[in-house]
Point group: C2
């Protein structure tokens, strides 16, 4: 079991879906990632929050064994906030408001102890910061994965391309994969992104699951079939947490493990979307994960005659 | 190897996609179905065409061993025509014109020899005709599958529900599954459709593959990843042809075979969309099918550690 470092955002989200709404609920890419990964390995979190960030949220993460020493509080600052809503097509979030607050001046400075963690996830933040974090690592991690979004693809393309050359894995959603590659066909887009650096390209397709290109081979996993999806916020970051958490727990980077990691990521995401914020994850028992992983394998199993 | 009977439409399609167009090209649900299934078993086709239907098309089907004795020509009649187009989102066809022509007065009358064929596919036609065909069977087939569409769900719902009570398998696309069930969640929609009669519900999801509910268990298969999709017309019927053709060839109806049948259906559909009309299928070698089936298995294979 190897340690896993994540650098990203911790947020307070206000989300409305057709099934309800929450205000200032715990959110953020690094939050979902850490919490999900904590079921598999020891997670070290580096992020920033404001003075308004509830202590209960910190205790929630610490309670799962997440190392929160790298969670810095900016005195007088306000926590990053995201306000969004979903219609019945839960695949598409509409952003109503983004207040960067303390995230605007976030300059991650890794504590010395974290500069040789073997598994690193650069959650969705400014690619210049992602590169800066990578530069701070004293030992090149065994596996570096990165997530990004349309905003950076448009506004910081050069920096994104630079950091992409140095990572092993990219996780990205389908629309953003097409945008990054400038290619409407998803298969060609994945290949084009692989040519930018990452040996492993993981495309997140929301309710349609995930597609992975690794060493020239494609792997396609469905989303776990759910009878009710409540709020998709955080599904992608939870997926990444399950994916990287599984790999770190096995100290693996091989292709077969990558496939099992996709299954674990998909399973973790399937829990997150069953409730607002991290609510479902906070009620999650390890046995439920194991049961759903087994069900997931059955879901895609084809036996030869 | 058991015989497979299909009753459905044979058409002349005019289709425009961003990649080209064809006029009065060979199409129709029973055509795609027969041609695809002919790679696996003996297919008996029952359909109707007009006097304008090119003899070369009949020879094409007969050349693949499809029994065309049940393809009746209406003297003086015109063949069913469909005119449609696709934008870059190839998942959605826009119908520009439908001329039923001889299909409007189609009353399938099964030759005596076909009234005991053990595998039956009721392609997308009026559910009253589908029920009538089923009534004509002297021996209840081992497996009866049916396809339908939004038009019948709206205009002939009672008849559709009646025939659904008597079939084993339904193949239906995702939007139509939601419509038939009156349920936006696809998993619940599949369960609701299963409760209407069919023990096996196969939901076709275009570029996202297929989902099957069989004996309470879900199976989810991706679409074969293609670098270029040229024209999706006929993909669903080709899928059904590969699915039913495989089952008939193995004389199987068990759940494991159903899963392999989904893979074969998906593989056959992946060829159809690579060119207009049946063009790709007419150039298809059995070895290509085998290779793509093997690749498809690899695409979804997860090995336990």
């Amino acid at each position: 079991m190897a340690d896993l470092l994540v650098v990203g955002s911790v947020a307070l989200d206000s989300v409305a879906t057709p099934f309800g709404k929450v205000d200032d609920a715990l959110g953020g890419s690094a939050t979902y990632f850490s919490y999900a990964a904590s079921f598999f390995t020891t997670v070290r979190l580096v992020a920033t929050v404001g003075a308004d960030f509830p202590e209960t949220h910190v205790r929630l993460l610490a309670g799962r064994g997440v190392d929160v020493a790298g969670l810095q509080t900016t005195p007088g600052g306000r926590t990053f906030r995201w306000v969004g809503e979903y219609g019945y097509d839960l695949n598409e979030a509409r952003t109503l408001d983004t207040q960067l607050n303390v995230l605007a001046s976030f300059r991650p400075d890794l504590p010395a102890a974290l500069r040789q963690v073997p598994y690193l996830f650069l959650a969705n933040i400014d690619p210049e910061l992602q590169l800066d974090v990578l530069r701070q690592m004293r030992v090149r991690p065994r596996l570096v994965a990165l997530d990004t979004m349309n905003f950076w693809i448009t506004s910081k393309r050069a920096a994104l391309l630079r950091v992409l050359r140095e990572v092993d894995v990219i996780t990205i959603n389908d629309a953003e994969a097409r945008q990054l590659a400038g290619e409407p066909n998803l298969i060609r887009a994945a290949r084009a992104i692989g040519a930018l650096g990452p040996q492993v390209v993981v495309v997140k397709r929301g309710e349609y699951g995930a597609l992975m290109l690794a060493s020239e081979a494609f792997f396609v996993a469905p989303a776990y079939p759910l009878e009710s999806v409540f709020d998709p916020t955080g599904a992608g970051d939870t997926f990444a947490g399950g994916f990287m958490g599984y790999l770190a727990s096995r100290e693996a980077t091989d292709r077969a493990s990558m496939r099992r990691a996709i299954v674990h990521g998909s399973v973790m995401a399937s829990f997150t979307v069953e409730d607002f914020s991290l609510n479902r994850l906070t009620r999650l028992a390890p046995a439920e994960i194991e049961a759903r992983v087994a069900a997931f394998h059955d879901l895609m199993r084809v036996e030869n005659p």
